[in-house]
Symmetry: D2
Subunit: 352 residues, 4 copies
């Protein structure tokens, strides 16, 4: 079985494992107060050009989102997102569990726009409605698209106008930053938002994300919030050690090498499928590919490949999701393309 | 200033005040465990033909909605409603404050439909998404329309199919039941849902709603929930006394007399405005009227009348909301129609 | 049956009912934004000598406590109280329902002390423990004792030292202020705390408490918090009207007249029982009396009187609670004393 | 610097690291639905002799406690624990964050007793107080003592009598089970409670705990609860792999070997210090030692050793905590004993 299921189906990149192995016998203090976490945070501050940034090593993406949102909002405040946003669609109401509304809008190309923020605002009137206080977006989005510099600037300005915090879920941030279409540097991104996280889990780590808080109003007593939200790891250094390994070398580090590798293979998948006449559910520009295939072809492919069916079959066609990761091999991509081509040859059904 | 602002702008119907006055010196036990609350509950069980119903005297509508939802749902479960639903639009995230998602759909004519429930269901996949467990509707809706018997039956069946509780917010239930268009009796309604409340605040009481729970799974330890959600009134009997006064006489009681009065005057408003060529924001069939008027006319009317502007001005027109209540007088309706007609005469702008 | 069950077993003082009756037909805006609420707030600001105070008309005591605490604390913060504190002992975890710990200490004579605050502080260490941020007390306490001026000053200073808000639950504040032992004026009290409430429910109102916030940090968006916590009444003016009636005349108003009446009859009960050799569970100085009586006597008294057994029988003796209110009559007190004396005569069991 | 700071100051036992390394390149499904988690759960069911047990691989101890408690309790229910209980003392109110009271009692020798449960019960009266529904204990306790079989049986019976779930925090369960004083097998423990967890983090894993639910009422939709409480790990298999490595061999497995090693060195510390005349803060029988030393000696020892001061200095003496782990070496223990002896020789202050 070949996996295009997700970018977290394998363990860690071998160099990350090596770092964990190498530091394994060290004794350090717990809960993220160790030299590795401190050093990794320093590396990140340098990488993003923000010496004032607070950096917290977190176990996963949902803990990042929930802790950040719960720390930033007052009880009656809400966070605006789109229907496909991870914090709305894939976290089992974990944000609402902290007492806050996730005000959901219908996204455009997987993205939140200034217009949608204005629309969300129309729901707000007075003390009888929650007060919107944050916009939550992902870069790249859940369907693999990315915000251009101009789009993010416009969103950032709208947030300032509406007195909203802007928070960016960077579960696959590496993939966005190394996308061919990307025109936004990490330093620029760190100037345009109030907080974001650099995803490790989906970019070569065993687990772990580096949450970067750029607005000190949000960082107040943040470690209390991490503990209260069950997100504090006893051996917190494990996350620091992994980010040291991933980010060593800054812009030329393993972190970006892994993301580029995954993007390159995703592109190959996309172009190969396109050449077969396949259309796509989303114009993904990162390490996720969303081809729409005939139901029969999908069932055939599932015999040898493991992937998500992204949405229910409609008029005989199923959008699927293929994800590449640090460990995806070129031969696996080739195998998928070949098998799809064969299905096409065997089949009478069109790919369109 | 003449008020069409709401059906809660005056005190209580004189007969309700009289009952409060008459029982004022009595000593009773507190917290709703008194003879008046017990008697009023018994009257309600008889009125709806459900001897097995649990009836709780509640202070207001938001406490009803929030306590009922929080009692019925497990932590990871959500409640489906529409964007204009009171529990979504006018309760400042009070439901989310108890940790539950309010899954919001775009309503049709102010109503939730079986199709919208199916659509909401599509968001649910597995343990990564909240599990829908309740449908919340209002009868009448926030924009004054009512569910027909057939519509409610279809919704009820869909809820059973999806294993959803069906809960009906009856803040203005009297107005729905006495609407000319209504074909649904209270007894039928009480067979089609798991819980509903009979609104007092907007139908002649000082305050108070009678929450009726028809599914014993929801009623488990419900008084603990009322107290925990801050909804237990020390002199709980005040609500019981008021419902005794309102419901004495059953289907011929003051409760329905008040609602009929308000409906009749609303209808007069609607027909009078319609005769002037006015169109409406919603096809309300109850005690709310939503005419769409030129902005200049609205400003003119606001000099003598107090009402809500329901939505922002668009292309020069503003939808407003006029509400009639137990104390609205025919002369007030006449005055509004006359003044509107005069505005029309003075104005060059069309009412369409 | 004669009631010493509580000070909320009857309706409202006749003058309060009269005010409600008199204003019943007025039309006003809802949700506490009416002239009566505004006027009552102004009266309170004058009475306490704090023009800067924010005053919110609340439905009941639990809503006051919960909304105030939830508004004042950040998610990881806790409130210190004693085991018999109402917010701990009689609110079904309503404070915890908003996500905050109620850190409970063993009170001294029903009171929190500076030493207990220091002790509570010992539990706090770092981000692994909640951060205490408020002290909650009642004046008078749940067992009827009162803080002297000196005691409250000491507590207030300790709170400042520990950076704690000091909040005073004044459900029976009138009774404390008119106690013979009291040396603390309302104006002084309003200088020593960050928030308190003036209880109406237990002092002649149908319901309603006036929550006074003296620290603007707590008042931020407070009306949003009231609505979110389900505490906003549609006909909010009802509370304003009642406080206008209660407080008209300031320090000579009905509010203090009612409290003095209840205190005087409680004192008569206390002295009468004491003369019979009865001892007391607490040195109450307000409108609650806690005699400890032989179990057999208690059962005998329960035939004609309705009151709380305060704690389980121990070595044959039961502490009971007798409460006097605005409607308690001198003859009722006399009847209780006579019946107790007769029980004593008939009985061989000692009262000690 | 020699660490007796905690049993989580190093990475994982080398054999655990080896297992992670060996499985690193495998592709599996995420979120704990992989063959390793399934296999590890099977191993645990066999080890405890309960084929009906549900086993969930969790990231840490606080997530175990909070998710289990939040899943088991209805909103108005509370959990009883003692002041030194981890869920009360070291989790920043994470349980209260889910809306539940942690009802705290003063423990005896670090333990909850049937008598304390009865005492906690006295607080419960009716719908005005939270309803106790669970007892939370740790085995071993936070101060290193262990419940005997007889003690746990008595607690279990009391819980059944009071209709309480019994939940055991097993962060250091290995240490309890391999203590010389222990007379309770894992199989017996699994018969006496409704849920417990087998701690990995403090017994040789990088992180991870195996939560065992023996009462199916608690296990209902538990994976939804894990996700909602932010506890679901993308590469969930990491925990499964580690428990496979730790538990391979059942009662002769690495898990118990590690615990025995730590216990043996703790015992050596205890006996060595005792021989020097040192007394102890608690009669710990597991891998924690709590000697009480003169303040000056503590300061001297802190130059070469890293450990917790357990409580503030009192009358010149400070209780400290020494913890041994999988990586503690005999030479480190010897060094501590030698240095303490030297301090004693140099000092005039008594060790008593």
């Amino acid at each position: 079985m070949i996996y295009f299921r997700s970018d977290y189906s394998q363990g860690a990149h071998p160099k990350v494992m090596e770092a964990l192995q190498k530091t394994n016998m060290e004794h350090t203090d717990g809960y993220g107060l160790d030299p590795h976490c401190i050093h990794a945070a320093e590396m990140i501050r340098e990488l993003i050009g923000r010496e004032d940034a607070a950096v917290h090593m977190m176990v996963g993406g949902t803990p990042c989102n929930v802790t950040l949102i719960a720390a930033a909002l007052r009880p009656y405040e809400s966070v605006i997102t789109i229907r496909s946003g991870h914090a709305y669609m894939h976290e089992t109401g974990a944000v609402e569990a902290t007492g806050h509304r996730v005000a959901v809008m219908e996204g455009v190309d997987g993205k939140l726009t200034p217009e949608l923020i204005d629309l969300a605002w129309e729901e707000y009137q007075d003390e009888h409605t929650p007060l919107p206080r944050m916009a939550y977006i992902s870069q790249p989005t859940e369907i693999g698209t990315i915000y251009s510099k101009k789009e993010l600037q416009a969103l950032s300005e709208k947030c300032k106008e509406r007195d909203l915090f802007l928070y960016i879920d960077g579960a696959r941030l590496g993939s966005a930053l190394t996308s061919e279409k990307n025109d936004l540097s990490m330093r620029e991104l760190a100037q345009l938002c109030d907080a974001f996280y650099i995803g490790g889990t989906k970019n070569g780590a065993l687990f772990g994300e580096a949450l970067v808080i750029l607005n000190e109003a949000i960082d107040d007593h943040f470690r209390f919030m991490i503990k209260r939200q069950c997100g504090m790891l006893a051996k917190g250094r494990l996350i620091g050690v992994q980010f040291e390994a991933l980010l060593d070398g800054g812009e030329d580090s393993l972190y970006f090498e892994i993301a580029s590798h995954a993007n390159r293979l995703a592109k190959k998948l996309r172009e190969g499928l396109s050449a077969l006449g396949v259309t796509f559910y989303s114009g993904s520009e990162t390490n996720q590919v969303f081809p729409i295939l005939p139901g029969a072809v999908v069932k055939e492919l599932e015999k040898a490949f493991f992937f998500h069916e992204w949405a229910p079959e409609k008029e005989g066609m199923i959008p699927i999701r293929l994800v590449t990761g640090w460990g995806t091999e070129e031969a696996e991509v080739d195998a998928f393309l070949e098998e799809t081509a064969e299905c096409q040859n065997r089949s009478t059904s069109s790919f369109l």
